[in-house]
């Protein structure tokens, strides 16, 4: 049998792209064995490109019972042995092992980062009988043909063991924290209530939830104070402009009213016209955090969603590797070639050509660096398939940001006109863009909101037509949203660029937080209360950050995996002992909180009849059938009730019916599309629908009529 080189990639899409790029004819043969695809290519010699499915191996308890803790002995095992629902991993590993038997050389071509390096290493070590020592490593930042060919022709002579060691340590430490703490919480609640509920916390989850709790406490105990803002409408050269009072806030009502009285219908004078020019430098290239933040603020995509979209664009070779913390664009990526390629797309032709006219292309860069990858940039490839709208949006954003960083500084002019009336000062502000610079490349994502003023001279008079006093109150600090939370985690250095979005997702899944503008649930509060009382070190932001730094040091060979694991165990042990000792009170608190959260999830809204109760999804004591009823139903005070479909799941939507204003319920039956149910029997929409159906039935030839 002809010997070949086995190339291992992270995902099937990447395998296809790599095989296509390396095959001398660009047409590799796709083979499928037991549902596992791999590709046969030729390039001087035979190549077999086989994908993984992300991590095929994971950390698991070496031996012992499932729900026991503390556990500190672990080993790396195939994922299907440790996780439910990972059955296909077995055939995947078997196929790779079979292909490895006849392979002569091995190349790891997974993404060049901690996770990718670890995926490749585990497959080579455990699935290919210890080939990690002889395997080579392809290093690339985009899946474009030219870069993949270059990476194949000049691979690294061995695997990146420092990165692998860092990855292994991170997984092992996370496993130690996650498994032990989650088991402690889950088993405490289970022992008290006899019911199972998944509760979890982890090395990063805990401190992240703690951030949220800190903000939630401030918001919930916030007491606003009143203040007043004064603005006026003035007439200048027959046009009306709004001017603001010299003091932004007035703390006394009487004082504000006196200002209004003194200025209304009076003539003022222009005292000073102050013009200022300011320069706005181009933005820096996208690192993954900045891309996620921008996509959230422009399109409202959660960080997790943006990451998913960016990953798809990367696999389509449209953008470079997105999981990067770099804000640098090295010249080696060849700016000119990218812009030339982008100019083939009509939407970018004009802008790209403008940049290509420049003598020198120099990007504005940020300070953040990533040893493995540059900032996110478009490869210059154009889509080979129709992109979905979200994919189009993110790709366009990456392209325009890339172009904007090469733009010139934008110049803006601000005008501040000071007006005096009856001893009080007001300001009129204008702004104008003098030179668009980089802003022209970043439209529509940057808007120049201009306020143009007429020619104004000092000494001119203006009439104060109206003076308005607005009642205001101080606001609580804003709630975090997934994007601002991600930024905060980045700022505090907890979690990694690849895991932060998933951790936020887990907090939602565990019902510790709800809603887009994040609200912490009672369960979230109780988890942090318990951990603060019995295991404060595991939610310490400072300790988490320190551990994170040490793990990063492994990458530069200045720290050892063993030391970090030992430190993690030493930190965890006393905390877990405390949790075990207080299992009973902890279980009680958690069980009650879980019950409250579950009750809360069934509440639909206020009862329209009794006014004191709440409508919620209830279950009949006799038949166990579900219905919507008032919480006063079982007390015998209010008999308001409405039927519900018995099949599938029914959940309050948190929205009201557009027609009658009653709360809506979302009903979903497996295999069918979910629908909104307005349970108001007198809802006008229902009447309309009824009439429409009746009309249809009356029409000749309608299916019902025939039947």
């Amino acid at each position: 049998m002809e010997k070949y080189t086995l190339i291992i990639t992270e995902k099937p899409d990447a395998a296809q792209r790599i095989a296509q790029a390396l095959d001398s004819k660009g047409k590799p043969k796709k083979v499928e064995e037991n549902g596992v695809p791999y590709f046969l290519a030729h390039r001087n010699r035979k190549l077999v490109v086989v994908p993984a499915l992300g991590h095929l191996y994971t950390v698991a308890h070496e031996r012992g019972r499932r729900n026991y803790y503390p556990v500190f002995n672990f080993k790396w095992v195939p994922r299907h042995l440790a996780e439910r629902g990972a059955k296909q991993i077995r055939t995947w590993i078997e196929t790779i092992s079979k292909l490895a038997n006849d392979a002569e050389d091995f190349i790891a071509a997974c993404d060049y980062d901690i996770e990718g390096s670890l995926i490749g290493y585990c497959i080579l070590k455990y699935g290919c009988e210890n080939k990690e020592g002889v395997a080579k490593r392809m290093k690339f930042s985009t899946l474009t043909k030219s870069e993949l060919e270059k990476a194949y022709d000049g691979p690294l002579s061995q695997l990146d063991f420092a990165l692998i060691e860092a990855g292994k340590t991170r997984h092992e430490v996370d496993w130690l924290y996650g498994v032990n703490l989650s088991r402690a919480l889950t088993s405490a609640a289970r022992r008290w209530s006899g019911k199972y509920a998944t509760l979890s916390t982890g090395r990063v989850q805990g401190p992240t939830l703690k951030f949220l709790i800190g903000r939630e406490r401030v918001i919930r105990s916030f007491v606003p104070t009143p203040y007043w803002e004064i603005r006026a409408e003035v007439e200048i050269k027959k046009s009306t402009y709004e001017v603001e009072y010299e003091r932004k806030r007035i703390e006394k009502r009487a004082e504000a009213e006196a200002v209004v009285k003194a200025c209304t219908d009076k003539t003022g004078e222009i005292k000073k016209v102050d013009m200022r020019e300011f320069h706005q430098k181009p933005p820096t290239p996208f690192d993954i955090g900045a891309l996620q933040t921008e996509a959230y603020s422009l399109f409202r995509y959660t960080p997790r969603r943006t990451m998913g979209i960016a990953q798809r664009l990367y696999l389509d070779a449209l953008i470079s590797y997105p999981r990067t913390s770099s804000q640098k664009l090295p010249p080696v990526i060849n700016y000119k070639n990218i812009l030339k390629a982008l100019s083939k797309e009509p939407a970018y032709k004009k802008l790209a050509s403008k940049l290509l006219e420049k003598e020198e292309l120099k990007p504005r860069e940020g300070v953040k660096e990533d040893p493995a990858h540059p900032a996110v940039y478009p490869t210059g490839n154009l889509p080979e398939r129709t992109l979905s709208d979200p994919e189009k949006n993110v790709w366009d954003l990456v392209v325009k940001r890339f172009m904007a960083v090469f733009g010139e500084t934008a110049i803006k002019q601000g005008v501040k006109v000071s007006l005096e009336v009856n001893g009080h000062n007001f300001f009129l502000r204008g702004r104008q863009v003098l030179k668009e610079g980089w802003m022209q490349f970043y439209k529509p994502y940057v808007k120049a909101e201009e306020v143009l003023l007429p020619p104004i001279k000092e000494g001119e008079t203006v009439r104060f037509k109206r003076v308005i006093c607005d009642d205001k109150f101080t606001n609580p600090p804003p709630r975090y949203n997934p994007s601002s939370l991600l930024k905060k985690m980045d700022e505090y250095g907890i979690g990694t660029k690849a895991t932060r979005a998933d951790i936020i997702g887990t907090l939602y899944n565990r019902r510790y937080i709800t809603e887009e503008r994040i609200v912490v649930t009672d369960l979230g509060f109780d988890i942090i209360d318990i951990l603060s009382n019995y295991a404060p070190r595991v939610i310490s932001v400072k300790l988490t950050r320190e551990l994170e730094k040490k793990m990063e040091q492994i990458q530069s060979n200045s720290e050892k995996r063993e030391n970090i694991l030992l430190e993690a165990v030493q930190q965890l042990k006393p905390q877990l002992e405390q949790l075990k000792e207080k299992e009973e009170p902890i279980g009680e608190v958690l069980s009650k909180a879980i019950k409250r959260v579950r009750m809360q999830e069934r509440i639909i809204g206020n009862c329209p009849n009794c006014g004191t109760g709440k409508l919620m999804i209830l279950y009949s004591r006799k038949t166990r059938k579900r219905f919507i009823g008032c919480t006063n139903y079982f007390k015998g005070i209010c008999s308001t009730s409405f039927p519900l479909p018995q099949k599938g799941t029914a959940k309050p939507m948190g929205k009201n019916c557009g027609s009658c204003g009653w709360p809506l319920v979302r009903v979903q039956i497996k295999g069918r599309r979910p629908w909104r149910l307005c349970f108001n029997p007198d809802c006008p929409l229902k009447e309309e629908r009824k009439k429409r159906n009746e009309m249809q039935n009356l029409q000749p030839g309608s299916p019902r009529k025939i039947l």
């Binding site: 919930r220 105990s221 916030f222 007491v223 703390e251 006394k252 009502r253």
Partner: protein
């Protein structure tokens, strides 16, 4: 001792969470009095219906109002 509002463990009248809200209410009364010359009861009424008031502060204000009425 239990919190008068939520039944959590309390040191005095309120649990740790509602106690913080209570202290905020007392502390902010001075600003309100200076700004609008309101009485304590008027102040409690105002903050109980203000949309910016936090839920714990609202609960405390409502509980204090009930006590005032008694």
């Amino acid at each position: 001792m239990k919190c008068r509002i939520c039944n959590r463990e309390a040191l005095e009248k309120y649990c740790e969470l509602h106690e913080k809200a209570y202290r905020n209410i007392v502390q902010k009364y001075d600003s309100w009095k200076r700004a609008m010359d309101v009485s304590w009861k008027e102040y409690l009424n105002e903050i109980a219906k203000n949309p910016y008031t936090g839920s714990w502060a609202k609960e405390v204000a409502e509980q204090l109002l009930k006590n005032e009425d008694r």
